[in-house]
């Protein structure tokens, strides 16, 4: 039976965003200027490598943004043709990881372990003893775990490693082939030149990233079916699954919130800079008021109001996931509506400079109306600022989510997020023995994502803002030995 597809609020925005990115890519391919700037971004090795990682996160986000409610088997006596749907909304990622969702333990368990964290008192030979029971799913296939465990781990891990390497080699070969075609050079020559790190784009670094990512993914996937790679949390849920789900939350918050700032910031910023006079005064007053409330307090106040509103209308949503999703969507809107002051100020200053330039004056003399000038002549010339601020804000918003969740105004507790994981970890770190894996997983995933976003943002800023490039740390001696050839 066909499941019923559910389009959540954030899903539709995620897909709209994907469509926009594709559209923008087409635009970049057509415009020589933009193309040159983006080439500069990818000439930067850290930016290129992190874009690979971000692409992977984006794939996870997209898989997690298709939601459906599975159809239930028709109950006896129900009229023919009527289909009942499950009350649980699942996502594409849940479907892919259905093994992980199903393999729920009783409570904590260490990463890759076959014994439970908890100890039970069992009577053995008339003597009460404290032993850890076997896990329900983790390592359940082992008949004699004490002897088989390490060899099983090694063989599974080895298989995963080999598969991952194979995938990476296939990717490398495909890249060589494509490059060889584009450069009209021989396959071996191309591979050799990539190996020597010649050429404009640092493909070698990208390949190393691919190798690392592919082998890690391969190992994790091959172990995932039989063990809990990152252990389980207090209710026995797999931590790896939670971390993967958190990626979507982080991405949605990072992207939606920055996008939500754009309309107000762009329209008001350009208007203030272009019209000046009382318009400028009013707009300045608005954003000064907004930015003089400490950000976190304003967000807390808005989110509390949203919460009260949702509590008042509990029947608006059919499932818990839908409710949590609306909350996430509103949180992003709140973050956007409270965070536009900085970009607005920047755009206002830039527009003030631009409006005095000759081409704007010329357009004015030709009788072009102010709105048209702003849209056609000013906006395209401040668009790079928008891009830079958007990518720079992205990572700080991901970090912010953790703080907001701690304060209690973040995402819904039922929704997986890095902030939620850290919150639980606070209690777990004081247990004895320490439950560190949930915290470590959240740390690893979050730092990887945020670091990748930061490095990518730096690349974008350096490419689009020539002034910023001077501040890049450079090694005077080791810089570009190949350039002398």
């Amino acid at each position: 039976m066909m499941p019923k597809f559910v389009l959540l609020w954030t899903d539709s925005t995620v897909w709209a965003l994907v469509a926009f990115v594709i559209g923008y890519a087409v635009m970049v391919a057509r415009s020589p200027n933009l193309k040159a700037s983006w080439r500069k971004v990818f000439r930067d090795a850290p930016a290129l490598c992190s874009s690979l990682i971000l692409a992977m996160c984006m794939l996870v986000t997209m898989a997690d943004s298709v939601h459906y409610r599975p159809a239930l088997k028709a109950a006896a006596g129900s009229p023919a043709g009527s289909v009942a749907y499950d009350t649980v909304t699942k996502s594409g990622l849940d479907y892919l990881l259905s093994d992980l969702v199903a393999s729920r333990e009783v409570t904590y368990s260490r990463p890759l372990d076959y014994l439970s964290y908890r100890r039970d008192t069992v009577t053995i030979n008339g003597q009460p003893q404290r032993v850890s029971p076997r896990l329900l799913h983790g390592g359940a296939h082992l008949s004699d775990p004490e002897h088989q465990w390490s060899s099983d781990l090694l063989s599974r891990g080895g298989t995963g490693l080999a598969l991952g390497l194979l995938l990476a080699v296939a990717g490398a070969l495909a890249l060589f082939g494509l490059l060889a075609r584009a450069r009209h050079a021989g396959f071996v020559d191309t591979a050799a030149s990539v190996w020597r790190n010649e050429g404009e784009i640092p493909w070698r670094a990208a390949l190393w990233t691919l190798v690392i990512v592919a082998t890690l993914t391969g190992i994790v996937i091959s172990l995932m079916g039989a063990y809990h790679v990152f252990g389980t949390d207090t209710t026995g849920n797999d931590v790896l699954y939670q971390a993967l789900k958190s990626i979507r939350t982080a991405f949605v918050i990072g992207s939606l919130s920055t996008i939500a700032t754009l309309p107000l910031a762009v329209v008001l910023g350009i208007m203030a800079g272009y019209f000046r006079g009382w318009v400028d005064e009013v707009i300045q007053y608005f954003y000064t008021v907004l930015s003089s409330v400490p950000n976190i307090l304003l967000i807390a106040a808005c989110v509390l109001m949203v919460q009260v509103f949702l509590d008042k209308h509990p029947d608006m949503f059919e499932t818990g996931v839908e409710r949590a999703d609306v909350k996430l969507f509103l949180l992003c809107t709140v973050l956007g509506l409270t965070g536009w002051a900085g970009l607005c100020r920047l755009l206002r200053a830039e527009t003030m400079k631009l409006r005095e330039l000759d081409y704007v004056q010329a357009a004015n003399a030709f009788g072009v109306g102010p709105w048209r000038i702003m849209a056609r002549h000013v906006f395209p010339n401040v668009a790079h600022l928008m891009l830079i601020v958007t990518v720079l804000d992205f990572s700080s918003l991901i970090l912010y989510e953790a703080v907001l969740s701690y304060v209690g105004v973040g995402v819904d507790p039922s929704m997986n997020s890095f902030g939620g994981m850290i919150n639980l970890a606070r209690k777990e770190m004081s247990l004895d023995p320490v439950v560190w894996w949930s915290f470590a997983a959240a740390f690893g995933f979050m730092v990887t994502v945020v670091l990748a976003v930061n490095l990518f943002a730096d690349g974008v800023r350096d490419a689009f803002d020539p002034r910023a490039r001077a501040f890049r740390p450079r090694l005077a001696i080791t810089r570009r030995p190949a350039a002398q050839k």
């Binding site: 000064t288 976190i296 307090l297 009260v308 509103f309 902030g419 730092v447």
Partner: protein
């Protein structure tokens, strides 16, 4: 100078009025006092009588903006909006929404000192540490030290401050037992409770700040007066400390100063993690208890601090840079 200050303060008051209007709209129009009453009384059997009683106790039993029943000026003054606004500007904060909690005013003034104990040393040390680290990187620019220093900065700023706290508490309090996990005592003994939050907070912000200051220094270093100074035969150290540092102070004052009110914000998390009974912990408590009166007051106090800071920064400009004249 004096007339400038007066003008700035008047504008600040205007901004504060706007903040007040905004928060009132958020807290009373988006959700009516009836909703708040229902939320606070809790339970299933809420009668209109109970709600009315709750509203009378807190003075929420009037119309929001315009009182149609009154004549003349009282049409505007005998409303919740007027009374709440006037009492906020007089710094009378009234009582908290929750039944058990008392008046907000004394609580705020008592907790403010705890917050200042944490925030002030932190702020001073923060500026010193970040400037020193940035200067070190700039001194050794184009070397491995600079390169890896910036790499470390980027890595550090990619880590959530919550990680610093949790790892720090685990490492220093639980494993090494150097500092107490959390707590507070009045008097000088408080120092031992403050060391860990201050050090961790320093670390958490060091990456962001040092990278920013480094860029500021490098921008100054490219300027003509630096070349002149070098051409005179001054040593690099003298150039850096006597010329570049002084001129870079202006952007540093701006950026550090804009962080001043956020010291109060940043310590929100740190205070609650380390059990310090400051304003930040107060806000978090209020949010978890959904005590709107407290949150609303704190929004007001926060903006007041923010606006005051910006007037102070303007004054600091004249001190740092004699070219800036306030007129």
């Amino acid at each position: 100078m004096f007339s400038y200050l007066v003008r700035r303060c008047l504008y600040g008051a205007l901004i504060l009025l706007g903040v007040n209007l905004l928060t009132f709209f958020l807290f009373f129009t988006v959700n009516t006092p009836d909703d708040m009453a229902r939320l606070n009384i809790g339970g299933k059997h809420i009668t209109q009588d109970l709600i009315d009683k709750w509203k009378v106790e807190r003075g929420y039993d009037k119309p929001l903006y315009v009182n149609e029943a009154k004549q003349g000026a009282e049409r505007l003054t005998d409303t919740i909006f007027w009374e709440r606004s006037v009492s906020l500007f007089e710094l009378r904060f009234g009582r908290a929404d929750a039944e058990s909690a008392g008046d907000i005013g004394p609580e705020v003034s008592r907790r403010m000192w705890v917050s200042v104990q944490l925030a002030l040393p932190l702020f001073v040390l923060q500026v010193i540490a970040s400037t020193a680290f940035a200067l070190l990187l700039v001194m050794f620019r184009h070397t491995r030290l600079d390169f890896w220093g910036v790499v470390a900065c980027v890595l550090m700023l990619s880590i959530s401050s919550l990680f610093y706290i949790i790892v720090g508490q685990f490492l220093f309090s639980r494993l090494l037992r150097i500092a107490p996990i959390s707590g507070y005592v009045p008097g000088w003994d408080v120092a031992k409770f403050l060391v860990l939050p201050i050090v961790l907070s320093l670390l958490a912000r060091l990456g962001t700040e040092a990278r920013l200051y480094r860029a500021m220094f490098l921008e100054e270093i490219g300027k003509d007066y630096v070349r002149t100074a070098r051409a005179k035969g001054l040593s690099e150290t003298v150039v850096l400390f006597r010329h570049v540092l002084r001129n870079a102070l202006l952007p540093i004052v701006t950026s550090a100063g804009s962080y001043l009110p956020y010291v109060f914000l940043g310590s929100l998390v740190f205070e609650s993690f380390f059990g310090l009974p400051g304003l930040g912990a107060y806000v978090i408590d209020a949010i978890t208890k959904q005590d709107f009166a407290v949150v609303r007051t704190m929004v007001f106090v926060g903006s007041l601090l923010y606006i005051a800071t910006f007037v102070l920064i303007d004054v600091a400009y004249t001190w740092v840079d004699p070219r800036v004249r306030l007129a």
